[in-house]
């Protein structure tokens, strides 16, 4: 089965916008969509200028309206909150519930101002995603899951990319929530191409 990698950050509102359509690719195409959560850019030593931060919030609001998604109030999860979500998402992927958790956490952070650095809001999101809190809490201290996140982050750098969301299909990269249509064109071509 064709694999599509989906590089995602809980600190990226563009990732939040992309996630519902990214996971829906599983429903429409015969693909294995591999969720790859990465450490936020601002925690990887890449500074984000103030002008860019402000523009991102305004632009995402407009795009969210166009997509019929809520955006705001928000609670920036940079730091502990983002890492906790990454760890729980890896645990969720092992339970076959990465989609449910990523969507629930995205909505919590970017539309309900959930402070995911605190247990109570995170627990509510986990339960909304159908995950048991005890398992999620154990995941927060699981070195194996942390290594996986670091490997995902290193893989994105190896691919020569810096931001998210990014999709990878057969070595070709598609950057941005607004480039999913390009990815779908490539998937369609991939699906109709004769086997080598």
């Amino acid at each position: 089965m064709t694999e599509v990698e989906f590089f995602f950050s809980f600190r990226s509102p563009y990732s939040y916008l992309a996630a519902p359509r990214a996971f829906a690719l599983r429903d429409r195409h015969r693909i294995a969509l591999r969720y790859r959560g990465v450490i936020p850019m601002a925690m990887r030593g890449q500074s984000v200028p103030r002008a860019k931060q402000l523009h991102t919030l305004r632009d995402v609001k407009r795009e969210a309206t166009r997509l019929g998604m809520p955006f705001g109030p928000v609670h920036d999860p940079i730091g502990t909150g983002a890492v906790r979500c990454l760890l729980v998402a890896e645990h969720g992927a092992e339970q076959g519930r990465d989609r449910e958790f990523v969507l629930a956490a995205g909505r919590g952070i970017w539309a309900e101002a959930a402070d995911v650095a605190r247990d109570r809001p995170l627990r509510r999101i986990c339960e909304r995603a159908g995950l048991e809190w005890e398992g999620c809490r154990a995941a927060l201290a699981e070195p194996r899951l942390r290594e996986r996140i670091e490997a995902n982050t290193a893989r994105l750098a190896e691919l020569g990319h810096w931001g998210v969301p990014v999709f990878v299909l057969g070595g070709e990269l598609f950057w941005g929530q607004d480039r999913i249509a390009d990815l779908e064109d490539a998937l369609a071509a991939h699906e109709t191409a004769p086997a080598a």
Binding site: Q46, P49, A51, K52, L54, H55, L57, R58, D59, V60, K61, R62, E63, R66, F71, G72, P73, V74, H75, D76, P77, I78, A113, D115, G160, H161, W162, L173, W175, G176, D178, R179, D182
Partner: protein, 224 residues
């Protein structure tokens, strides 16, 4: 407490305020009442393949509306000190090729241009008066740079286009060429192509639908 302000209060307020449009709509209505036209400032770079896609698209969108397209060529663009600048240049080329293909155009150039290769074009264009001649020159030069050739950029070829469209010699002027960069920083954009209208700015290659929707909301809709 300060964490709550920076992580929650300020970003949520920025989002909420970004939806307020009545002051811009009011200013636009006043301009129409005076018999004036709308204005869309487009910051772009000749060495940027995304600009080569966005400028013709927005030229068409503005021509269909009572909106003046103000072309502002930027010689040096991007976030100062950005460690990913060369990766971004390659990504821009891949992305622009896909966008162009969607519009039925094939980009010939397969390698990024360096800003120094086309700085002279930005300086010429920045020193010229706005109008149809400048627009025609910019469109032809961008097409030549990205869609018609893949080789080195020769000043003489572009001087010929200049003579054909603006009927004179281009004026070299680095000082004039820096003005659009300064204006871009004041308006808010930190990279090109960026369109500014009614106090809002958009990345022009990413958001053509948002831009035309905003012009419509301001009352600068397509003319019958």
């Amino acid at each position: 407490m300060s964490g709550l302000v920076t992580r929650r209060v300020i970003p949520s307020a920025v989002i909420a305020l970004s939806t307020v449009s009545w002051p811009a709509r009011g200013r636009a209505a006043l301009e129409r009442a005076r018999g004036g036209r709308g204005r869309l400032e487009l910051f772009f770079s000749f060495d940027d393949p995304c600009s080569a896609v966005a400028v013709p698209e927005l030229a068409v969108a503005c021509a269909a509306r009572p909106v003046d397209l103000v072309l502002l060529p930027v010689a040096e663009r991007g976030i100062p000190g950005d460690p990913a600048v060369s990766d971004k240049r390659r990504e821009a080329l891949v992305d622009a090729r896909r966008r162009a293909r969607r519009a039925g155009r094939e980009m010939l150039r397969a390698e990024p241009l360096e800003p120094g290769d086309t700085a002279f074009l930005a300086h010429w264009a920045a020193a010229a008066p706005q109008g149809q001649g400048l627009e025609a020159f910019c469109l032809r030069a961008l097409a030549a740079l990205w869609f018609e050739t893949a080789g080195p950029v020769r000043e003489a070829d572009y001087a010929a286009i200049w003579r054909a469209e603006l009927h004179g010699q281009p004026a070299p002027g680095e000082a004039a060429g820096r003005r659009p960069e300064a204006l871009m920083r004041r308006r808010g954009p930190y990279d090109v192509p960026a369109a500014v209208a009614g106090g809002r700015w958009f990345f022009a290659h990413d958001r053509p639908a948002q831009i035309t929707d905003w012009l419509d909301e301001l009352g600068w809709g397509v003319m019958a």
